[in-house]
Each structure stands twice: as structure tokens, then as C-alpha cells.
């Protein structure tokens, strides 16, 4: 039997649920818009820039991530309990979900394709240094690697290292430097 193209399958299910009044297409549109426009890595970048410029905030963030990001208004689905891990010159943290693709939505939005890729999910818990190098990040040999597998409802978030040469940057300038992948631990922030 020929496999039904997934586009068609999706359209069929939507029609079936909508015509029986079980699903409202406007609610679907609102969910989609929320994650296309409103909830994305800019939220996480704001958290990082604030932590870099406000030592007391950084201490709160590392102590109780959920409460500290709620101070900035970030909460919601997949953000019930947040654990923030700090990258330093001694340790590099990287996050995965081997069982599905759990990800801190309120701070980073929906996961990028590489995070959902079976190769990443399978291998970063077995050979993280090799996997990170394949993805373009060479972790110095003397830097310890910690991998975090998101198997409960706790979500892990990486506070990346602040790059040299940004001492005079404003918080807003720093926000612009912090890309999505640095907050999962597969890239470093570049000045």
C-alpha cells in the first residue's frame, strides 16, 4: 500500500476535527503564531544578557532558574521547572533529550531541526566531543564536558560564556550576540 503523504494526512485530520467542532482553526492559528512570532530564542538571549550584566541576577538564575526567568515574564508550557547550567573556562555544558525532543520552549521557542535529529539524540550522550566538533564547535581538550539529558519535566538551559571584548557592551548589544545554539551548548557566543 502506498504511504499517504503527510501533508494530505494532516489536512485530512484537521478537516475531520474541525467539521465536528472539536478543533477551532483559529485556535490552531493562534498556537502557530505564538511560536512563529512571539516565543523564541530572543527570550533566552535577554536572560543571558541580564545575567552577564547583573551579578545578583546571575546568582538568582543559577539558584532558581524558574523564578529568575519569571522575573522577566518568561514562563509557560515546557517551562515548569528550569535548571540553568553555566559554561565556564573549566566546563562546557550541552543539552539533549534522547527520548523525544524536550526543550525549554518559553526561553528558546520550538526546537531547531538539529536538536530533533536522531544522530544528535543518539550520539551526544555517547561521544559529545566528537558530535560537537561535527557541528562546528571544538571544545578545548582541557575543558570538561557535562551532558544533560532532559528526561523529566525539568528543562535545562545553558548560560554561555561571555566573549572577550564585550566589556563595554550594553545589555541590548549583548542580547544581539546571543544566538539560539549557544543556549543549548552546541556553539559559543562570538563578539
Amino acid at each position: 500500500m502506498t504511504r499517504i503523504p503527510i501533508e494530505l494526512r494532516t489536512e485530512a485530520l484537521e478537516q475531520l476535527l474541525v467539521e465536528r467542532g472539536l478543533v477551532d482553526p483559529k485556535v490552531m492559528d493562534a498556537y502557530i503564531k505564538m511560536y512563529e512570532k512571539d516565543v523564541g530564542p530572543l527570550n533566552g538571549a535577554r536572560v543571558v544578557a541580564k545575567a552577564w550584566t547583573d551579578p545578583e541576577y546571575k546568582a538568582r538564575l543559577l539558584d532558581d532558574g524558574t523564578a529568575a526567568v519569571a522575573e522577566l515574564g518568561f514562563k509557560g508550557p515546557q517551562g515548569e521547572h528550569l535548571v540553568v547550567v553555566e559554561n565556564t573556562d573549566e566546563v562546557h555544558n550541552v543539552v539533549v533529550c534522547t527520548l523525544c525532543s524536550c526543550y525549554p520552549w518559553p526561553l528558546l521557542g520550538l526546537p531547531p531541526s538539529w536538536y530533533k535529529d536522531p544522530a544528535y539524540r543518539a550520539r551526544v550522550v555517547r561521544e559529545p566531543r566528537t558530535v560537537l566538533a561535527e557541528m562546528g564547535l571544538e571544545v578545548p581538550a582541557d575543558r570538561r564536558i557535562e551532558v544533560w539529558d532532559s528526561s523529566s519535566e525539568a528543562r535545562f538551559f545553558v548560560l554561555p560564556r561571555r566573549p572577550e571584548g564585550t566589556e563595554d557592551h550594553t545589555e541590548e548589544q549583548l542580547v544581539a550576540l546571543v544566538a539560539r545554539d549557544t543556549m543549548v551548548g552546541v556553539a559559543e557566543v562570538r563578539a
Binding site: I32, G40, E153
Partner: protein, 228 residues
């Protein structure tokens, strides 16, 4: 300690070989690569509500897909196939209905669709929103304790991956108590319990030739036993 050798679930990918190189991240990738992915995302979220189920049941609905349905249509394809399982379990959509409608959409006007069945949603009400709960019992383990991940092979859902089963690690963080996915996914009670972030040495997990690193993973209290 038992000698169960668990069967690999299709979703339980940690440590698996044969997947090739990790992809190089694309910085400007859209949130949804194609429109159907956005529709499938929203449909799956709403299907949890329509079917009267929960997030753990949704995760399990994907774990029991066959390899084609799990992998071949990508991440949001998996969500759609999982949502269909939930809707089928709660008899919202009869078997064969989606296929028949898809055939009609493809131009086959003479395809009959099964009638809409009487829904049978699970008899279950959460005790609170989300997964975190306050429980009376104190944590069985504290930071620094040595623990072993049990080996078991439940017939249904679990969040204990194969690659840590039977291995010893150290409690790194005591997390808040949470609803146990293993029973919650099957509407057999919340069984809220403490969750521990346990740190395993890579060579404990993968042998003496493994890269040197630490692996931290959240494990529910009933997944763990004290060592010694």
C-alpha cells in the same frame, strides 16, 4: 538486581549507533519548514485536549509508533501520527477514517468514511495543572548519594532510557517531586515522586574507551535503588 534485558523502544535513541554524522546547525531555519508542520503541531496539542489525555500519554503515543511512522515524516509527522493514536484510543476517530478522508482529498470521490464513533475518553482528572506536585514523604536520596538505575522493561510507558539501566551514578540535584510518567500515561494514577538529576561517568555507561565526560539525567525515585 534483576537480569532483564529491555527491548529497545523505537524512541529510545540514547547511545544508539548507525545514525551518521550530526547535522550542522542552520542559523536562519524557520520555526516550521513547511505549512503542514505548523498545522500538525497545533493539531497534536489540541488532540491531547480533545481526547481527554495528557502529555505523558502523548509521549507514549509516539513511542509506540512503528519505525516508518516514527521516523519517515520527521518530528511533526511523528506528532501527527501520535495524535492519531490518542484520538483512536479515545474513539474520537474510527480506524480508517483519516485514510478515507485523505483519499477523498486526493480526488477519490467514491470512498466511504466510517461513521464518527461514540467517544470513550479516559476516566481521569489531574489533581493539579502541570507535572510538579507537593508530596509528604521526604526524598529517599540526597545530593552525593550513590545510586543505581534499575533494569526493567515495562509493557507501557517509561522515561528510564536503556543506556543508563543497571549503571551506577551520583545524585547531583534533588528536583521537585513530579507525576510519574509510567502510570500517568496510562491514567493509572499520578504516583508523584521525587526526581533526581543523577550524574554518570561516561566510562561507567560506555566502557573504558569512551570519551571522558559526565552524563546528567533526571530519574524518578522508583527508577533508582541504593548501591552497596
Amino acid at each position: 538486581m534483576s537480569t532483564v534485558h529491555p527491548t529497545p523502544g523505537v524512541h529510545d535513541l540514547g547511545g544508539a549507533e548507525g545514525w551518521g554524522r550530526a547535522p550542522v546547525p542552520k542559523p536562519d531555519e524557520p520555526v516550521f519548514g513547511e505549512r503542514w508542520e505548523a498545522r500538525a503541531f497545533a493539531l497534536a496539542l489540541l488532540s491531547m485536549r480533545v481526547s481527554g489525555t495528557n502529555l505523558d500519554a502523548f509521549r507514549h503515543s509516539m513511542s509506540r509508533l512503528d519505525r516508518e511512522d516514527y521516523f519517515d515524516d520527521g518530528y511533526y509527522g511523528r506528532w501527527l501520527h501520535g495524535a492519531e493514536n490518542l484520538l483512536s484510543d479515545s474513539t474520537i476517530v474510527a480506524p480508517g477514517t483519516v485514510e478515507a478522508r485523505a483519499a477523498r482529498l486526493a480526488g477519490e470521490s467514491d470512498v466511504d468514511e466510517p461513521p464518527a464513533p461514540e467517544p470513550h475518553r479516559p476516566d481521569y482528572t489531574p489533581t493539579a495543572g502541570g507535572s510538579i506536585r507537593t508530596i509528604e514523604s521526604p526524598p529517599a536520596f540526597k545530593v552525593g548519594d550513590r545510586v543505581r538505575a534499575r533494569r526493567f522493561d515495562p509493557p507501557g510507558h517509561t522515561r528510564l532510557p536503556r543506556y543508563v539501566m543497571g549503571h551506577e551514578g551520583t545524585v547531583g540535584i534533588v528536583e521537585p517531586a513530579q507525576v510519574l510518567p509510567d502510570s500517568h500515561a496510562h491514567f493509572q494514577g499520578e504516583n508523584a515522586q521525587w526526581v533526581y538529576t543523577v550524574r554518570f561517568g561516561s566510562r561507567e555507561l560506555f566502557g573504558p574507551d569512551a570519551e571522558q565526560f559526565d552524563l546528567n539525567i533526571d530519574l524518578y525515585e522508583s527508577y533508582l535503588e541504593a548501591t552497596g
